[in-house]
Amino acid sequence: MSVSTPDVEANQGGRKVIELESVTIRLAGDSGDGMQLAGTQFTNTSAILGNDISTLPDFPAEIRAPAGTLAGVSGFQIHFSSRDIHTPGDRLNTLVAMNPAALKTNIKDLEPGGLLIVNSDAFGAGDLHKAGYKSNPLEDGSLANYRVLAVPITKLNREAVADIKLSPREADRCKNFFALGLVYWLYERSLEPTLKWIREKFAKNPAILEANTRTLKAGYHYGETVEALPVHYRVPKAQIKPGRYRKITGNEALALGLVSAATLAELPLVYASYPITPASDILHQLSDLKRYGVRTIQAEDEIAAIGVAIGAAFGGALGVTATSGPGVCLKSEAIGLAVMTELPVVIIDVQRGGPSTGLPTKTEQADLLQAMFGRNGECPVAIVAPCSPADCFDMVFEAVRLAVSFMTPVFLLSDGYLANGAEPWLIPKISDLPRIVVKHPTRPNSNGNGEAHFLPYKRDERLVRQWAIPGTPGLEHRIGGLEKEDVTGNVSYDPLNHEHMVRTRAQKIANIADYIPPLAVNGPPEGDLLVIGWGGTYGAITTAVERAQRKGYKVAQAHLRYLNPMPKNTGEVLKRYKRVLVPELNCGQLRLLLRGTYLVDAVGLNKVQGRPFLVSEIEEKIEAMLR
């Protein structure tokens, strides 16, 4: 979102203040430069200030590359606004580059005329060479299209902390806070929240505390004093639903959601996982929540992880496992076992760039058809997909609800963008959270020839079997992966029984459609175009569609958070629009399902770059289709 025309022109401290609706900035530097921390501080401050926010970190590839190299660049992007926003922003209004490598890898995202703040101390010949610059961009005119503010950040930071007892390394480590202070001034943010954080964080280390405090202020004052900055900016409070908020990433939301769902369902949570980017953080989060009764197991591989989850489910616990695409391959046989034995397990797939090892740190949506069909035989499972970081909380809750109330494995499809992206989360009242009621049977469920029997595959009207658990006297039974006889669950090779069971398993999943909300439409109930998506593209699609609507196009948006089964009204919604557009970060997977299921001539907008959609990309496609 580029700078909108100034609403207000004040004259304050001799400086112009320009009020803006939304701003997108990115802090970029070497992995060692602490950009993630500075970004987090800016985000928190802006949130407390009352802006709506959306952020996205950009980590370097998995291994720490040598300092100063392109591969070692780490960035943190913040979109803050006085309006309700849904994405971390397309183009940057301001870029802070702590070294040449950071400049080189990020400059392309800065809008023409955008503000570029660089640490000029880091542009020595060696630094330039490491970044592959033949000449110094600060001097060769290649940055002419931008407003460049070259600041000797290293030097100024050292001066700021000069008379504090610190090793040179420690001293230099503070420079991210100098930059942060400068940006705080630039956007009229109060230093207090960060100063408070510094006080708490470094309480045990007065020297560091003092150093960070001083350099933060020094950065701020530098902004005030230096002539080079004629204006600074103001982004007013946004209209936000009142309540207590926190910032949450998708992976955090999944962890919290799982603990909440288990607690409210009164089920012990057993989380078994094998580390894999970008899902590992869920394991890290949950391992730290043992006091909430969570049991985490780091298994020897993905097969073992889902095995543990299935075993836990057999024992009456909430069995959950998370992984990314390559791990889903390995879990697929065991998922089939859970389908055949009709045990509730939640499988989280934090999708990343594929195929094969692919792009482990990048985002993609290309595992949908794998989740639908990636198993032998007719093997239906339920699939849900959150649409934003905070929505991960609600949808993992749904995944748990569906798993235990339909005795089925449920896939939750997240992605690298949702996993690491953050947004404000209105902390829910516990009493407002859905209750999940689980009843393990305690007595036999039939009375064949006088004797009481337990029939493990006897079903209720929704076709769901009972969750009888070991330790219950009189309900002893055996389950397994061979085809089951209807009702008794005995092994059966009978042809008609097999057909009956295949169709029953399919119908049970289909029945879920009666227990999920219908597909909602954002925009006119009918019209020229429906833009339908799923997962993490929600924010970009929403923003694009709303812009197109403001331009007067008859376009609506629908977003599928339930992918199998789809909401009952999906087909009917699709038919209400002349054309259908399906933006996906894959080659058209949802599109195939919609076309095959509903015979609509859906068009795809497909991007497979390991990056989320830019709002503009979708906006252009919409206009191209309607113009």
Binding site: K247, T263, G307, A312, G315, A334, I430, H477
Partner: protein, 343 residues
């Protein structure tokens, strides 16, 4: 499967109480029948209530076992039983969890899960039916088949050097390791009882005859006329003596075992003494290397030591934080990061 119910289980079970209503489907003469019978006998003695017993298996003839026990059971997928058993045990320490596996299920496709369950010392009783063949898939050689074994998949004889189940288990830090034989019914029953009594992973290899595809492969250890000379029954604290008239023994020569005959200058005191509790597993390992025909093959408990179990440690860790910090409330959890209020 439908099963008759006894809402308040008889305190002392009879073997027949442990039989399910399912027709047993092994080939006539299969060694599995005996193992099933002895398992029922062994468990009947222990008065663990039926509903607390769980049998978890992979895939194979042997893995059909759970269907025939009137307990809880799970016939899972090939090689993965230890993982599912681990998941069950960690959340249900109250259960007695048994894993039934075969030489293919446990050592071919399932080798990794087996060694990880063992090294973690999850409180599972793992019974490996070793018939040195893939029975269910109709007779291919297995990871325990001796070199030169001719099967459908090795018509010219197998060339894969076999694994020794006990050596692998000991290499994987096992706390309980034993070997027994399908037809030695008393020893089998007793060994299963010992396994049940062990806290931690109990790994038991059972020599099992596959009547159809590998008949007689353990004859040297089961044939009345010769078995005494080819097997050595281990007893804790006792010297290693064997042979029809118990005149032969095992002596250490440096670190190599050697067969000696008692009498001419050799006395019982020269013999190696079995110690299943030895701190270091080197003895157990050495015994696991004794292979027919060069040596008699040891039968009995090779190793039995105590170590905290994984399930116990895992649950302790949780209980401990809860004891110290108190059980977490969702409210605190949600507020565990900086929060702010919007009016």
């Amino acid at each position: 499967m439908a099963t008759s119910s006894t809402t308040n289980p008889v305190p002392v079970l009879q073997p027949k109480d442990l039989a399910s209503d399912q027709e047993v489907r092994w080939c006539p003469g299969c060694g599995d029948y005996s193992i099933l019978a002895q398992m029922k006998k062994a468990l009947a003695g222990l008065n663990i209530p039926r509903e607390k017993l769980v049998f978890i298996s992979g895939i194979g003839c042997s893995s059909r076992f759970p269907y025939y026990m009137n307990t809880y059971g799970f016939h899972t997928i090939h090689g993965r039983a230890p993982t599912i058993a681990t998941g069950l045990k960690i959340c249900r320490p109250d259960l007695s969890v048994w894993v039934i596996t075969g030489d293919g299920d446990g050592l071919s496709i399932g080798g990794n899960h087996l060694i990880h369950a063992i090294r973690r010392n999850v409180d599972l009783k793992i019974i490996l039916f070793n018939n040195e063949i893939y029975g269910l898939t109709k007779g291919q050689y297995s990871p325990t088949s001796r070199i030169g074994t001719r099967t459908k998949s090795s018509p010219l004889g197998s060339i894969d050097n076999p694994l020794r189940p006990l050596s692998i288990a000991i290499g994987a830090e096992a706390t309980f390791v034993a070997r027994t034989i399908d037809v030695d019914v008393n020893h089998l029953t007793e060994t299963l009882r010992r396994a049940a009594a062990h806290k931690g992973t109990a790994f038991v290899e059972v020599y099992q005859n596959c009547k159809i595809f590998n008949d007689g492969v353990f004859e040297y250890a089961t044939d009345k006329s010769i078995k005494a000379d080819n097997t050595l029954y281990l007893e804790h604290g006792k010297p290693l003596i064997f042979g029809k008239d118990r005149t032969k023994g095992i002596r250490l020569n440096g670190l190599e075992p050697e067969v000696v005959t008692l009498g001419q200058g050799v006395t019982v005191d020269d013999l190696l003494i079995h110690d299943e509790k030895a701190e270091e597993p080197s003895l157990a390992y050495l015994l696991s290397r004794m292979v027919y025909p060069r040596f008699p093959e040891c039968v009995g408990v090779f190793r039995c030591v105590e170590r905290p179990t994984y399930d116990e440690l895992l649950n302790k860790q949780t209980e401990e934080v809860i004891r110290v910090k108190g059980r977490g409330k969702l409210e605190d959890l949600f507020a565990s990061d900086d929060t702010w209020v919007v009016e």
